[in-house]
């Protein structure tokens, strides 16, 4: 201590040095010091600079679409529940949806009647279409062709979002630019116009979309796509077939069956280029089957691949319908009652579900625990990467919008409506044969269209089609008084969430739900 005091001049110098360095380092460079780059976001300036930005941006759109359909398991609540084949065991909100009591005051219903997440897809797609071109000039690795394909995907995704929304809400505001940074509400646009826009966008996108991604020597898009090969991309991105599949549905939804026939014809003629194929019952229902992760046989699907750690508990029909013995849950939230099963599956040899008349045993591909009070709908049961272990309940099944069987049946429907019975029957019989059921015979006097829809009911159960199928059937047949009244009164559409209405004064509630 004493020696310390004696070294007076030394101390002074130290002090002076400390202060000076303080002064210099802190005061003079303070401007720079306050420029802290956040590691938690990308600024406006940092985005749209290179290949990674466009790739992340594009994946972002797919991700938002997955969110729109997966959040609250909405894809199935919209498509499968209303007066459909499923019964709710105890959840009051699901019961309300099933009985079409959509004004009921449950948070779930408020959440799934809010269309914001679709507009997030639309906005991000518009933004991508507007901005991704900038990267072509900035990053030589990002080719014009690559950009063209990316933009085509964004357009197709945006069109798909519009189509999906129109099915639920009817008229929706049509917004075709990002209006980045402005937040104005728009009134609703007539649904015919919205669908017309979606169709034209898809036609344009289909021109640029390839059949496959990341294939060496491919005619349309040769070489790796964003550095990854075909295995990485198969089933994950929209292809030319995806665009035509959605167009087919847009046409069918509007009863434009002529167009639907044209578009489905394209699909039927070219599906092999995208490696689509008909699947066996085993492939359809195995836990590592067609629904597991990414699969080229699903042309419009959104993946939760376990390989990349994207398995979740929500966003899958399994969350709603699985129970013991597959997972440790006593009673499923939703189930298909025995009555309904017996009504839908009339043939004993049906590989999906049938009762062996001799042994009395049931086929378990679609339903487990048939002998119990509550059967478990187990068609889709992709537990964690396709395993069968139910000890940790997360799922990896993709949200499949369509697959070849669905498109074949749609074509059959279109052809049947247009009076081309035989080709329609042929398509229907492909499915029937694959499932081990009796072929449709025109001589038996059965109604072809009813048969096609009955087949759709069996084949597509749990894939989010039942509600829309019933609407199309009622439109074709016009003999279901209650349903046709619902269509006429626009009760087939869902109410719009109050948050949506509140945020935009130009919107009006769907008349049926006022």
């Amino acid at each position: 201590m004493i020696s310390f005091i004696n070294k007076s001049s030394w101390l002074t110098k130290v002090v002076a040095f400390l202060l000076l360095s303080n002064l210099v380092s802190v005061n003079l460079s303070c401007k720079k010091m306050l420029d802290v780059e956040s590691t938690r976001l990308a600024t406006e300036e940092a985005q749209w600079k290179n290949l990674q930005d466009t790739r992340s941006g594009l994946m972002g759109i797919y991700n938002l679409m997955r969110t729109a359909l997966g959040n609250n398991n909405a894809h199935w609540l919209w498509g499968e529940m209303r007066e459909g084949d499923f019964t709710a065991s105890s959840k009051s909100d699901l019961k309300a949806i099933i009985r079409s009591d959509l004004n009921a005051s449950y948070p779930l219903i408020q959440n799934i009647t809010n269309w914001r997440s679709f507009y997030a897809v639309i906005n991000s797609a518009s933004l991508f279409i507007e901005r991704s071109g900038e990267v072509v000039a900035k990053d030589p690795r990002y080719s014009k062709l690559n950009n063209k394909v990316d933009i085509a995907q964004a357009r197709a995704l945006r069109a798909f979002a519009y189509f999906y929304m129109v099915r639920i809400w009817g008229d929706v505001p049509l917004i075709t630019a990002s209006h980045d940074g402005t937040f104005e509400g728009k009134p609703r646009t007539d649904q015919a116009k919205v669908l017309g826009y979606a169709e034209s966008e898809l036609i344009a996108a289909a021109k640029d979309l390839p059949y496959r991604y990341g294939v060496d020597g491919d005619a349309e898009l040769p070489g790796l796509y964003y550095g990854y090969n075909y295995a990485r991309w198969a089933g994950a991105l929209f292809t030319k077939i995806s665009a035509y599949a959605i167009m087919s549905h847009i046409a069918a939804w509007q009863s434009h069956y002529l167009d639907a026939a044209v578009y489905t014809q394209f699909v039927m003629e070219n599906y092999k280029s995208s490696n689509l194929e008909y699947v066996t019952t085993a492939q359809l229902t195995a836990s590592d089957g067609i629904f597991n992760g990414q699969d080229a046989r699903i042309p419009v699907g959104f993946t939760f691949s376990n390989t990349y750690g994207e398995s979740t508990s929500g966003g899958h029909i399994e969350q709603l319908v699985l129970a013991e013995p597959l997972i440790a849950k006593q009673i499923p939230d939703l189930y298909v009652s025995k009555d309904t099963i017996n009504k839908a599956f009339t043939e004993t040899k049906d590989g999906r579900f049938g009762i062996d008349t001799l042994s009395g045993l049931t086929r378990t591909n679609y339903f487990l625990n048939y002998s119990g009070q509550i059967p478990v709908f187990s068609k889709i049961k992709v537990l964690r990467g396709g395993t069968t272990s139910g000890s940790f309940v997360i799922f990896s099944s993709s949200i499949a919008f369509t697959r070849l069987e669905e498109l074949a049946l749609l074509r059959a429907e279109a052809l049947a409506v247009l009076g081309q019975r035989q080709p329609a029957i042929d398509l229907l019989n492909i499915i029937k044969k694959n499932r081990g059921t009796k072929s449709f015979n025109d001589l038996e006097g059965l109604d072809l269209i009813n048969e096609i829809f009955a087949e759709r009911r069996r084949e597509l159960m749990g894939e989010g089609w039942r509600w829309y199928d019933r609407i199309r059937l009622a439109k074709i047949k016009g003999d279901d008084a209650k349903f046709n009244k619902l269509i006429a009164e626009k009760g087939i559409y869902w109410p719009i969430a109050k948050d949506v209405l509140k945020a935009n004064g130009q919107l009006v509630q769907n008349s049926y739900w006022k």
Binding site: M1, F4, S8, L11, T12, L18, L19, N22, V26, N27, L28, C30, M33, L34, V36, R40, L41, A42, T43, S56, G57, I61, Y62, N63, L64, G70, N72, S90, S92, N103, S105, W115, S117, Y119, A120, I122, S124, L127, H179, D180, F183, G185, R232, W233, S305, G309, E310, T312, S313, G314, G315, A328, Q330, I331, F392, V393, P495, K498, K502, A503
Partner: protein
């Protein structure tokens, strides 16, 4: 401008230091008053000389009637663990609520009301006052952890209250700073108020040793336990009245079988759940040294316990201070504190599943049987749940005094880290096990330079100038990994493939592993200058201007210049010099504007792109098809370019009076606090894709009165002495502005209306029940019945008031009712001394606030709750207790109704939550004055033996277990552990 002046002044000062050694040596001898330097000049009535830190702070406290500073001496007799507990009810204008009796859980403080509305519990973190420990601004946890969480009950990680790391026995004084100019001097960190802790200081003189210790118990009251029969009987009327056959079939399995003794047998879980737990504390401090060099050392250990569910916290503190004065004109002082806390957390199911984000089938809750609960606890033995926080903080300061100049330069650092290791065995998680590891740290580094000098003109005029500059750099970071479904309950770590030649090198072998990390860095640079003018001993006026730059504000508006001013008039000296009745009478006015820091670095960047995968219930999906995604922040909210610094304007008008030889002191302060230009997430048309945008322009005004009273009612040297103190705060908040000229804004379950308070509940008014369908009113215009958002009301549905008379019940018919914040809060202490005996007690109260009883709503809404199988369906073991309150006041509604009859947002569940608590009672006896001790050579100055009891009783009409357990949004969930009673026997030795 200010920055340039500051820089120039330093340069000038440096030249003085370097050149004029001789002048320096001529400087006056200065006592060691390092710590006071930061603020001493603003403290009225304190002479610059002859102070050490402790004395001036106490002096302030005295002049303010005890209203602004903590009575440390009395509080040291209670086994308080955290700073919040010490301050609760003890300082006017500071409102503290312990939302859980679990020791070491996060607690919140609010200075002078709510400066912003609270939508979720985590929002409270953004309006916390800053705590200074010997001038070191303590860094707290960052809210970013909630980005990866599904539920915000607790943050991931140890979730320990960092302010529980300060040992009460090392504290000399705690002052709550509310004066606008003083806050302005501290800058943007102090925009929500500041709490200034001064530890006991190193002192010159002969060696001093203090030993404090206590032992005691923490004890919770047993609840009245129930079994399934109670629940069964509770539900019976609903089933009799409304159930359909299929509802009866769906009667919960665990209630169906009345022969099942697990559920229908004796309910004795309480014996295992509520256990009286020992608590203790022991610490030692030594100080000593010469005038030129002295030190203080402190070491202590404290164990606190919760009285229920085996919760406890173990804390180790050590602190070392050293001061030197190598020259008479230089003082060097430094301090290093180190703390470690280990926390035993509750064994609750909700907290566990909230962390694992995995909710198994909940249809059979944990039964009330003692045996089953014991077997649950046996399984829980396999759990690893280690929560450890360690921290060090310290400073190194040098103070130079050269003639009229004084320069303080100070480096300070604060670092704390939290570690949490968790393992849940398969038996607790439906054949799944779970591992998680968290490591996170917060660090703050700061440099402060303050130059002061004074100038006298004649004898009457005195000027004090001060220029200060500071730089601060904060860093928060965490790494977190959780893993599911390991191979068995013995392997508790993540095994990876160790062969570098394999393609799966370093990938997990058995567990499903998810990893998360986040990091945020912030910097703040400030300069200020202040002048204080004093005229005789009558009037003083100060002014201050400061300029702050923050890395979290946008480049275009990075800097904010703010002014402050105050005036103080000594009325006693002016008018009443000869008056012997009034000893002191001053009036003061103080005003300041202070910038408020953005709480997230996203606001500094303007429009941006973020990674937002998944959705609310699945926040952690890593990407799409294994690839990173980037999008506009559709879900979390658009950030535009036009965000400027929020700020707070504060005005104080106050008066202090001392009467009867200062035996009665009172201070009364009226304040108005306007927090302006704050950000709020406002909804935008959903067709834009955005859920909301961050808009600037939220303004909230808090007005109120702080009152402090302190009186020596009886004062006799040999007789009975009675000292009493009361602190009171009356506060009202009001929303004064919304962004974009909006008049009202509904966000979630809150509605903000300009002109109304921001803490109001937004509820339907319940007026009874419709017993028959015919009672439901008919709309005369279209003959339609009253409907609830489109659903026609029926018999068994509640009568909600149709406020606007349109025969549709919807949000328009909800009204703002009741406040979640108290209108009046405070505390009252009394201290009696007679000879060597002392007796004191402390009462705290908060009145005028309401709460929504979510627990009651859940009990009645059992149909939707149980079928939900979500986090709200979880039944803890302590849910097997009699439902609180008067159940008869709730009508028997149809619980199956799709209008959700027992919805929470109705005034049926709104309850008065005011309370008054006997917080502490203590009896002490000072042994040191006994002849055999006082004559001994040990030189014992004090040997206080005392007994204290805490939380003895609460007076309240609230039906839940404790009105303090209501969370900050005003909801009472009933999940939290009650605050225990404690009984301690302690001794304090000063040698």
């Amino acid at each position: 401008m200010v920055r340039i002046i500051a820089s120039m002044s330093y340069t000038a000062l440096l030249s003085v230091l370097c050149l004029s050694n001789a002048a320096a040596k001529a400087g006056k001898a200065t006592p060691l008053n390092y710590n006071a330097n930061l603020r001493q000049d603003t403290i009225p009535g304190v002479k610059k000389k002859a102070i050490d830190t402790a004395s001036w702070v106490n002096n302030v406290a005295r002049t303010r009637g005890g209203g602004d500073s903590l009575n440390v001496r009395l509080n040291a007799l209670s086994p308080y663990l955290s700073l919040q507990q010490m301050l609760k009810g003890n300082v006017a204008g500071l409102y503290v609520k312990e939302v859980s009796g679990e020791p070491g859980t996060e607690q919140m403080m609010l200075v002078r009301g709510l400066s912003a509305p609270i939508f979720r519990n985590k929002d409270v973190n953004n309006i916390q006052p800053i705590v200074y420990l010997n001038g070191i601004p303590l860094i707290q946890n960052n809210n970013y952890i909630y980005d990866i969480q599904k539920y915000d009950f607790n943050p991931i990680g140890p979730a320990t209250n960092l302010l529980a790391g300060i040992d009460l026995n090392t504290i000399q004084s705690v002052e709550v700073i509310k004066d606008p100019v003083e806050l302005a001097k501290l800058g943007p960190l102090a925009a929500n108020g500041a709490i200034w802790i001064t530890t006991k200081q190193a002192k010159s003189g002969i060696r001093q040793i203090s030993v404090n210790s206590y032992f005691g118990i923490a004890k919770s009251d047993h609840a009245s336990p129930i079994n399934a029969e109670y629940v069964n009987r509770f539900r019976k009327p609903f089933y009799q009245k409304y159930a359909t056959p299929s509802d009866v079939i769906n009667y919960p399995g665990y209630l169906r079988d009345s022969t099942n003794l697990d559920y229908y047998g004796p309910s004795k879980w309480g014996d295992l759940y509520y256990k009286t737990a020992p608590i203790h504390s022991v610490d030692l401090s030594i100080s000593g040294g010469s005038e030129r060099a002295n030190f203080r050392f402190f070491a202590g250990n404290t164990k606190s316990a919760g009285g229920a569910d085996n919760t406890s916290l173990d804390r180790y503190n050590t602190s070392f201070q050293i001061n030197m004065s190598p020259y008479e004109w230089v003082t060097v002082s430094s301090m290093v504190n180190a703390t470690r806390m280990d926390r035993n957390r509750n064994r609750g199911i909700r907290d566990r599943f909230a962390e694992t984000r995995y909710i198994p089938d909940l249809s059979n809750p944990l039964p009330p049987s003692r045996e089953i609960y014991q077997s649950f606890l046996d399984e829980y033995e396999k759990v690893i749940d280690e929560n450890r926080n360690s921290g060090v903080q310290g400073y190194f300061a040098m103070n130079f005094k050269v003639s009229k100049f004084s320069l303080l330069t100070k480096l300070n650092f604060d670092y704390n880290e939290g570690i949490r290791d968790v393992f849940y065995p398969t038996t607790l998680m439906e054949n799944n096990n779970y591992v998680s590891n968290y490591f996170g740290y917060n660090q703050r580094f700061g440099v402060t330079n303050i130059l002061t000098f004074d100038q006298k003109i004649g004898t009457d005029h005195k000027f004090d100038f001060e220029i200060g500059q500071s730089f601060q750099s904060d860093l928060n970071k965490y790494n977190y990994a959780n893993a599911y479904n390991g191979p068995n309950d013995f392997i508790k770590i993540n095994v990876v493939d160790g062969d570098p030649n394999k393609p799966l090198y370093l990938t997990p072998i058995n567990f499903m592993v998810y990893r998360y990390t986040d990091r945020e860095q912030r910097r703040l640079f400030s300069v200020y200058g202040s002048v204080k003018y004093k005229y005789k001993d009558l009037l003083s006026i100060s002014g201050l201007i400061r300029d702050d730059g923050s890395s979290t504000s946008q480049p275009g508006s990075r800097w904010l210049v703010t002014p402050a001013a105050s005036a103080q008039w000594n009325l006693k000296n002016q008018f009443l010099k000869g008056n012997t009745f009034i000893d002191q009478l001053t009036a003061e006015v103080s005003w300041s504007r202070i910038g408020k820091l953005f709480n997230d670095d996203r606001f500094g960047s303007g429009p941006q792109y973020r990674v937002e995968n998944g959705w609310g219930a699945e926040p952690t999906i890593p990407g799409y098809n294994g690839l990173a995604t980037i999008t506009r922040p559709y879900a979390s909210g658009w950030v535009g370019y036009d965000l400027r610094w929020p700020y707070t304007d504060q005005l104080n008008v106050g008066m202090n009076i001392g009467l009867l030889n200062n035996r009665l002191n009172a201070s009364l302060t009226f304040y108005q606090k306007d927090d302006k230009r704050m950000l709020i997430n406002t909804p935008v048309p959903t067709e834009t894709g955005y859920a909301s945008i961050f808009s600037s322009g939220l303004s909230v005004r808090n007005t109120g009165i702080d009152l402090g009273l302190k009186g020596s009612v009886l004062r006799k040297v040999d007789g009975l002495n009675w000292e009493t103190g009361l602190n009171l705060n009356v506060n009202r908040n009001k929303l004064t502005e919304l962004p974009g000229g909006l008049k009202e804004l509904a966000i979630g379950n809150r509605k903000l209306i300009v002109g109304q308070a921001v803490d109001k509940f937004w509820v339907y008014e319940n007026t009874g029940i419709y017993n028959t369908d015919a009672e439901v009113p008919n709309n005369p215009s279209n003959q339609e019945k009253l409907n609830f958002e489109g659903t026609t009301l029926k018999a068994g549905d509640p009568k909600w008031k149709d406020q606007n008379g349109d025969f549709v019940l919807n949000d328009e018919d909800k009204v703002l009712k009741g406040n979640s914040m108290p209108k009046l809060s405070g505390g009252w202490y009394n201290e009696f001394n007679y000879g060597n005996f002392s007796f004191n007690f402390n009462v705290i109260f908060a009145l005028g606030q309401k709460a929504l009883n979510e627990q009651a709503a859940n009990n009645f809404d059992f149909i939707n709750r149980e079928s939900g199988n979500d986090i709200g369906s979880i039944k803890e073991i302590n849910s097997w207790q009699a439902y609180g309150g008067d159940l008869g006041k709730y009508p028997i509604y149809n619980p199956w109704s799709s209008v959700v009859a027992y919805r929470l947002d109705q005034d049926l569940f709104l309850e008065n939550a005011g309370y008054l608590k006997l917080r502490s009672v203590s009896v002490g006896y000072d042994l040191s004055k006994l002849p055999w001790l006082s004559n001994s050579k040990a030189g014992i100055k004090r040997a206080l033996l005392y007994v204290t009891a805490n939380n003895l009783f609460t007076i309240t009409s609230f039906s839940g277990s404790d009105p303090e357990l209501i969370d900050y949004t005003g909801l009472y969930s009933g999940y939290r552990i009650a605050i225990p009673k404690t009984f301690t026997l302690g001794i304090k030795f000063d040698l």
